[in-house]
């Protein structure tokens, strides 16, 4: 099942309306972090390091609706923490759908079976299941055995019930491109609507700092993964953003394109960096020093970032910015990116991921996890 035409039409007309109105900075998607607490402790996550009293708090449904309406964005992405831990998540999703928003509910799926009765299948609701790769890779990535199986079970259940389902995968340094391609075959064979992929970003507070991808490594990895594509692969992402990941395009960041709202307010400047908070969306737009962020700013925190929250809006803007952008997007949708050099590099690649090599001999004693 592809992305509904109504969703594509909603997004396209929304972007064109912003352009016709001469609006320089507008949001495409709101990242609505309804809470920070989570039932996993992934090594790459920098979202959950807070005191207990912060982790216990959550947005009310009214706060969610107000923020989303204030922004005007047509799509709402609900990440976390784990949003299914929110006791009113059903009410929040229902209220957003009633407002005509396309909702992507991002979950690790551990609580899906017991919470599924809160939701009804709708073209406005997509479950985005966190899956970072094949079984061993995913379980290592989220630091919990058995999580892959639960996510796969949840995908099957959701599809059986008629829900829209996508996967969301974050790839870190050491990802095995052959394994990633096998994984993509697997999830497409299951019947998901599409896949979403993005390079990991080094959150300042993320425990796993050494495995985030630098830009050159990311481009080579994505070139090997996304060239010579299987016909069955579909992505729930801008085709030009995927070209950006493969190093075929260069974009500057559009941090206001996918802004973040959470219990502290509107996060400056983006989903990944925390440089303070604004109390309203307008204040975020008006008072953030946007020139201080992005590759061209010289800000060291931005130099390695290729994450969708900053660059996918740039790609969408490119699509609707000119006739050339529209044509490039149309071509990209049908392009399998045949690339003999990338295929050769893929075949020669012999990546041994972190979960498959024992490095204890190289490691100096450090503080341990719990």
């Amino acid at each position: 099942m592809p992305v509904p035409v109504s969703q594509m039409w909603t997004v396209a007309t929304y972007v064109l309306r912003q352009k016709l109105a001469g609006r320089k900075r507008y949001p495409l998607v709101v990242m609505l972090e309804v809470l920070f607490r989570c039932n996993l402790a992934c090594a790459g996550c920098g979202k959950i390091q807070y005191p207990a009293h912060v982790l216990k708090r959550q947005l009310t449904p009214e706060e969610c609706f107000k923020a989303v309406e204030e922004s005007g964005a047509p799509i709402v992405n609900i990440p976390g923490g784990e949003p299914l831990l929110h006791p009113q998540i059903g009410e929040i999703v229902e209220g957003l759908i009633a407002r005509g928003k396309y909702v992507y509910l991002c979950t690790n799926a551990l609580l899906l079976k017991e919470k599924l009765h809160l939701f009804q299948p709708s073209k406005y609701l997509t479950f985005t299941i966190h899956l970072d790769g094949e079984r061993e890779h995913h379980d290592f990535s989220v630091a919990r055995e058995g999580t892959y199986e639960k996510a796969i079970e949840a995908i099957r259940l959701l599809l059986e019930k008629g829900f829209r389902v996508t996967t969301n995968s974050t790839l870190f340094d050491g990802a095995d491109p052959k394994s990633v391609r096998r994984f993509m075959d697997t999830v497409m064979d299951m019947g998901v609507e599409g896949m979403m992929i993005s390079p990991g970003y080094s959150y300042e507070k993320a425990p796993d700092q050494s495995h985030f991808l630098a830009q050159d490594g990311a481009r080579e990895l994505y070139r090997q993964i996304l060239s010579n594509r299987s016909k069955k692969w579909r992505f729930n992402q801008s085709p030009l953003f995927l070209e950006f990941l493969m190093g075929r395009r260069d974009y500057e960041c559009t941090p206001w394109g996918i802004p973040t709202y959470n219990i502290f307010g509107w996060q400056k400047p983006c989903y990944l960096l925390q440089d303070g908070y604004a109390d309203s969306f307008q204040e975020l737009i008006d008072e953030t020093e946007w020139a201080n962020y992005g590759h061209g700013s010289g800000n060291p925190k931005c130099q390695n970032c290729m994450v969708h929250s900053g660059f996918e809006p740039s790609a969408v803007n490119d699509t609707f910015g000119s006739l050339g952008g529209l044509v490039a997007t149309a071509r990209a949708m049908f392009n399998r990116y045949e690339d003999p050099a990338a295929l050769e590099a893929l075949e020669k690649s012999n990546v041994v991921p972190a979960h498959a090599r024992n490095p204890l001999v190289h490691i100096k004693p450090q503080e341990s996890f719990q």
């Binding site: 009293h53 216990k56 300042e204 507070k205 495995h211 050159d216 024992n358 490691i363 996890f369």
Partner: protein
């Protein structure tokens, strides 16, 4: 240098924790530096105002201004939903009193644990913070 040559940023996850630190706030420079660190800190702090009142909570925002009077931190108190904005000029003392929730966690620690547990035939699961 092309953008593709950029190397990874510093290993922030492994830096020394500021937990327990009580900075000197004698000069304007010390005050600004300490409050910037407090904003970056992933634990609660305790602020004592010059009028003697005390607030313990999480600093989620700071707005540096030209003067200390125009600069402020925004705090989410530990025991209340009422956010407080406190001008730098009103702060008499600052303590990094809460546990640093980002300290001591590193990829090396994680992978060492992962392999130790696997070698022992045990579960390598990590549990999230408890919220009680």
């Amino acid at each position: 240098m092309t953008s593709g040559d950029v190397k990874p940023i510093a290993n922030a996850g492994e830096r020394a924790s500021l937990q327990g630190w009580i900075p000197e706030l004698a000069s304007e420079e010390e005050i600004r530096e300490a409050l910037e660190k407090a904003f970056d800190y992933r634990g609660d702090v305790t602020i004592t105002r010059k009028d003697g009142t005390v607030v313990e909570g999480y600093i989620f925002d700071r707005k540096p201004g030209k003067t200390l009077r125009e600069s402020l931190v925004r705090v989410l108190p530990k025991d209340s939903n009422q956010r407080q904005s406190i001008p730098y000029s009103e702060i008499a003392a600052l303590a990094f009193s809460g546990r640093d929730t980002a300290a001591g966690i590193s990829f090396h620690a994680w992978i060492r644990r992962y392999w130790e547990k696997r070698a022992a035939g045990e579960s390598y699961d990590l549990a999230p913070e408890t919220h009680e």
